[in-house]
């Protein structure tokens, strides 16, 4: 457990992230539904855009700062902010305080940071959800996001949630926490190295014989899914929120 978690709140904000917004919209909505089902009111500020990570990680901190300034104004009230992506969560929790060092809004940024929760940790530790599986038996495997694990300090929260599903068999990857090679602009700046990394990740996935590859990070997911599809693999890539919601929505 990475920190002290609050009691279950009445309301939460949802910070969809730009990748989920554009590429994994269903996963975003599934995350919202999973929380609503627990009786929590979810608020989605319409003006939100991006956590600033792409520019920040490329060394363009001034550009990142401007986007972040816009973002934090979208979440004015003191509700927890839930994010369906480990690496965006890590950006907001770990790097905002340093990005704002000496800035007039430093305190506000720190306060914003302290309200950020990644979706799986929020579902597991705060809402303590229990899931009733309605689906047919399947095998899944799980890829850990580097930033969720090493920057945010998350453990196996998402896997715990998946394990609640009766008909789902979780097959562990041999090198679950090895980077999938995405790394934002790394994937286009160092295409050959990144390519080899994602191919290795895919063969690890294929070795498990799983039907689904699940992850909690839209960047990793886009990368691994893209490569699996290029190889015309039958393994389906899915955000864990979509998976959990799809299998339990009837309940």
């Amino acid at each position: 457990m990475r920190r002290n978690y609050p009691e279950k709140p009445d309301k939460v904000y949802f910070m969809g992230t730009c990748l989920a917004d554009m590429l994994y919209a269903e996963a975003g909505l599934a995350g919202i539904r999973l929380m609503e089902r627990e009786g929590v009111k979810v608020i989605y500020p319409r003006d939100q855009t991006c956590c600033g990570q792409p520019a920040f990680n490329s060394g363009f901190q001034e550009e990142a700062l401007e986007v972040v300034l816009h973002l934090i104004h979208c979440f004015p009230k003191a509700y927890p902010i839930v994010v369906p992506s480990g690496s965006c969560g890590a950006m907001m929790v770990r790097h905002y305080p340093e990005l704002f060092e000496g800035h007039p809004l430093e305190q506000k940024a720190i306060e914003f940071s302290s309200r950020i929760f990644e979706l799986s940790e929020f579902l597991h530790h705060v809402l303590k959800i229990s899931l009733k599986d309605q689906g047919v038996p399947v095998k899944v495997t799980w890829h850990t996001s580097c930033h969720a694990k090493r920057e945010l300090g998350l453990g196996d929260e998402a896997k715990q949630l998946v394990k609640q599903l009766e008909n789902v068999e979780l097959k562990e990857l041999e090198r679950e926490d090895e980077c999938c090679g995405f790394g934002g602009t790394f994937s286009v700046k160092q295409p050959m190295i990144s390519g080899e990394m994602v191919l290795d990740k895919c063969s690890d996935v294929l070795k498990t014989g799983s039907d689904y590859l699940l992850s909690g990070d839209c960047g990793c997911l886009m990368n691994i899914q893209g490569s699996l599809e290029k190889q015309q693999s039958r393994v389906q890539s899915m955000h864990f929120a979509s998976f959990l919601w799809e299998r339990t929505r009837g309940s």
Binding site: R46, N57, F60, E151, G183, S187, Q225
Partner: protein, 457 residues
């Protein structure tokens, strides 16, 4: 890029290291202890160096300061000339690689022979080290055997590791006897006692520092520690992280030249302290952490990039994660800043580092410095154009992502058009070589929530 030798070794090495640290609680305690000692030491670097110098001198060790590698080289050359040396035997020293000392001495008529087996192999084969602990790790046994057959002892059978070691031993023993100068690195220098410590496995370091009449120890200024009692924790994490050994085979503590009545040891001991940009790193609170490094190599063994491309690809003395943060600072951000880009920021190195260097944070800071750099004069046109392109891209990004109306418009256009983008566009080409172009959602999330009636505030 696909070197099976590397892959095999680097699956084994991390495993070996983990066996050493089975208890993750113990590992954390040790890392905190060792990291704490290094952090404390480096924060007092100027004071400790001032303490080290007179204490070494009192022990009879002559201390020399070098601002640059050129200065360090000429200091070594002067010592060698005074000693009338034609042959120097060397223990493993990364600082000497930084100085390109062998090359420099050769130009000046002095042969410098590597005596660490791995270094010896690559020296004979005219290569550079590909790893800071295992310099010849990129070669397999057959390749090394071939080097021995062709370049060391054609008449001898050198198939097995034992045979090759035996051959090298015979060649080197003779050189040890003849060399006038011994050159070594330093793992730790203890300020309070003026003691130089050397960690090694082959015994060659002991030979280099005792047989020749004159011993020169080369050290980066950051290798100082305060007290003798700081050593055990650092040694423990160093050997376990480096080679998965609980303890090293040889630990040499050099506290003076040969004393009256002693049977061996050099008549002169010199310590060359090299700065080469280190005091610049010291100035910045975060970059300073680069100096905590104890050169164990664990970050390389755990790095998904290094283990795929090998050490030579970095084209710098220090490869792997530590090289990515060290080299741009040694050589300058404009010359070597590109190394900071060769990382997915996965943080496996940070997790492995026994002294907890925040390598990814330092990479981010270096990327920021590089983005701000205005010195573009030495760039080729292509590099200049790429850099300009990147700057413009992020300016555009900033606009698009801080104006919600523009952002929404772009998202909805992309969701309808992205599937028609030709995957041969410059950026997409690199991506689509290994992957399909990302599929955009039919409707972006902000539209879905609108339709689903999710609250707005």
């Amino acid at each position: 890029m696909d070197n099976p030798c590397l892959k095999r070794v680097f699956t084994k090495l991390p495993e070996k290291r983990w066996v050493m640290f089975l208890d993750s609680g113990e590992l954390e305690t040790l890392r905190n202890l060792a990291g704490g000692i290094r952090r404390d030491t480096v924060s007092r670097l100027p004071d400790l160096l001032e303490e080290l110098e007179p204490n070494c001198q009192q022990n009879g060790i002559q201390v020399h300061w070098a601002q640059t590698t050129e200065e360090a080289n000429s200091i070594v050359l002067n010592i060698a000339r005074k000693a009338d040396a034609k042959l120097a035997v060397k223990g493993k020293s990364m600082v000497s690689e930084e100085m390109e000392l062998n090359h420099f001495l050769a130009e000046n008529g002095i042969e410098a022979l590597e005596s660490d087996l791995g270094e010896y192999i690559i020296q004979v084969d005219h290569e550079l080290p590909s790893h800071i602990i295992m310099p010849a790790i990129h070669k397999n046994r057959e390749e090394i055997s071939e080097v021995f057959q062709k370049k060391v002892a054609p008449a001898k059978k050198s198939d097995t590791a034992e045979e090759m070691t035996e051959t090298a031993r015979q060649v080197l023993r003779d050189k040890f006897r003849r060399a006038e100068l011994g050159i070594s690195g330093v793992n730790f220098a203890v300020a309070e006692t003026g003691t130089l410590c050397l960690v090694e496995n082959e015994g060659n370091g002991r030979f280099c520092t005792t047989m020749p009449r004159v011993h020169v120890a080369l050290m980066g200024i950051e290798k100082v520690v305060g007290k003798l009692e700081d050593l055990p924790p650092l040694l423990t994490v160093l050997t376990r992280s480096a080679t998965g050994q609980p303890i090293t085979t040889y630990f040499n503590m050099i506290s003076s030249p040969r004393q009256d009545g002693e049977k061996d040891g050099p008549e002169e001991v010199h310590l060359v302290l090299l700065d080469n940009g280190r005091s610049r790193m010291y100035e910045d609170e975060l970059l300073r952490d680069t100096l905590l490094c104890i050169r164990c190599g664990a970050c390389m063994n755990h790095c998904p990039v290094y283990t795929r491309i090998g050490g030579h690809a970095y084209q710098s003395v220090y490869p792997g994660p530590i090289g990515k943060i060290l080299t741009p600072q040694l050589e300058g951000i404009d010359t070597a800043g590109y190394l900071a880009d060769a990382s997915s920021l996965c943080g496996a190195c940070v997790e492995a580092c026994p002294v907890k260097i925040p390598i990814t944070d330092i990479l981010l800071k270096l990327r920021h410095k590089k983005a701000q750099s205005k010195k573009e004069h030495h760039w080729t046109e292509l590099e200049g154009a790429k850099n300009l392109f990147e700057k413009i891209t992020w300016k555009g990004w900033k606009f698009a992502f801080s104006q919600p109306w523009f952002y929404r418009m772009q998202a909805s256009i992309l969701s309808r058009t992205a599937q028609f983008l030709p995957d041969q566009l410059p950026m997409l080409r690199s991506w689509s070589r290994f992957r399909m172009v990302p599929r955009f959602s039919e409707k972006p999330l902000h539209q879905l929530v609108e339709e689903a009636g999710i609250a707005e505030e």
